[in-house]
Amino acid sequence: MNAPDIVVVATGTANTASVLAGLARAGARPRLARDAADIDGARGVVLPGVGTPHAALAGLAAGGLGEALVRRLRAGRPTLAICLGMQLLCETSAESPGVAGFGLVPGRIERLPDRVRVPHMGWNRVLPDDAGPAGLVQEGHAYFANSYRLTHAPAGWRASFVDYGGRWVAAFERGAVLACQFHPELSGAWGTALLARWITGAAEAAC
């Protein structure tokens, strides 16, 4: 099987080099998305993201990148959203008041409580919801670097959880659409295996 065409959306603020390297280690031959046509045409799209929602969304508004992302997310086409990328799929964020996210799933992103050190920085145990169907994310330790989090799992998605200042959503997924608060590209062998499963799913998904 040839490596599927995977493109990474550069928001201008992300650790894009790490994401490209992680995908390559997992068996893909990724490239940067140049325009909305790349996002429409690729077999799989990765939306990384660090920084603030308003800066990332402003970067995506140019050239219709955000609209192309929403098109493929609504169609359930293989897409991986990482960290801030995951938060952009929600409705709003306390980090950028008044700025609308993509609204693919309901929910508002809230800041972590003051009783814990913020950012949540390091490795924490991810536990998939046992009640739901099997999915891409398996139990294990993932690397996180976040100050904000999604508290409630969106209905209709398989969720995984993590505990830090309370229990919140580490990832949600449906088919080959996977959104992770943690960084699979920095999560060692566990993260590389997760990326490989998503890439395989992207290769097998019907376009």
Partner: protein
């Protein structure tokens, strides 16, 4: 539960590791990428590369090292040394760093911390503080590899760094660095009391008990260089000992 992080550090100059020349199991002990891969295989949770002689002329070599290490590393990579501007940081991130550490330039121009946090996010912005004990029972920040007095109270500077948007404080005891006498626990506790930002303890580690004591004092991560360099004590050995001591570690 968030695990404690074991963070080996590579001191690099002109693309080569400059400390720890004896290292078993490596053909070339001075190659950063080979050493980085070995540390990850041993269970390191992150890696820090400090370019001890970073100059404008050496910028290209520094990025080449980051690129080579990134290619083999699937854990977070922090790079510091000679970072003077947001554009310097961007160059390191483009080469494959996940976080950038600033020290002297931030003391000179504290707004650099705000600029980095705004452009790349707090989780990417590490402020390194070299702290030396003073005669009044406190600590003074030092810059330029410890060679200059920054004329700032180190604890107050740590608090300000957090307020300006630092995502981590890399806190090195100038008095303990290289001594093997253990971390300066009073320093860690003093900084932990004034900021909610995670602390990486550095300077003085020689034994597992030192790492455990730093964590108890308030550090979320412990950085060590010398302890791992002779190849006798591996990262895995340290994590097993910490786990036996009741600490949560990544298996």
């Amino acid at each position: 539960m968030l695990t404690v992080r074991i963070v080996p550090c590579l001191d690099v100059r002109d693309g080569r590791i400059v400390k720890g020349v004896r290292f078993q199991g490596l053909r070339d002990a001075g190659d950063p990428a080979a050493r980085a891969a070995l540390y990850e295989a041993q269970g390191a949770d992150e890696l820090v590369i400090l370019d001890v002689a970073a100059t404008p002329a050496g910028r290209g070599a520094q990025r080449d090292v980051v690129r080579a290490v990134r290619g083999v590393l699937s854990i977070p990579l922090t790079v510091g040394g000679g970072v003077r501007s947001a554009d310097d940081a961007a160059g390191l991130l483009d080469a494959g760093a996940d976080k950038v550490s600033v020290n002297s330039a931030a003391v000179r121009e504290p707004g650099l911390i705000d600029a980095l946090a705004e452009r790349f996010g707090s989780q990417c912005t590490v402020v390194a503080i070299d702290a030396a004990r003073d005669d009044a029972g406190g600590w003074r920040a030092r810059t330029h590899g410890g060679g200059e007095d920054a004329e700032r109270d180190a604890v107050a500077w740590a608090r300000e760094a957090g307020e300006r948007g630092a995502g981590e404080i890399l806190l090195t005891s100038w008095d303990r660095d290289g001594t093997g006498d253990g971390y300066d626990l009073d320093l860690i506790a003093a900084v932990a009391a004034v900021t909610r930002v995670p602390i990486i303890a550095s300077g003085g580690a020689a034994r597992v008990e030192h790492l455990a004591a730093a964590i108890r004092a308030g550090a979320g991560a412990v950085l060590a260089a010398t302890i791992f360099h002779d190849g006798v004590t591996g990262v895995g050995d340290v994590k097993r000992a910490l786990a036996a001591d009741g600490f949560e570690v990544r298996p």
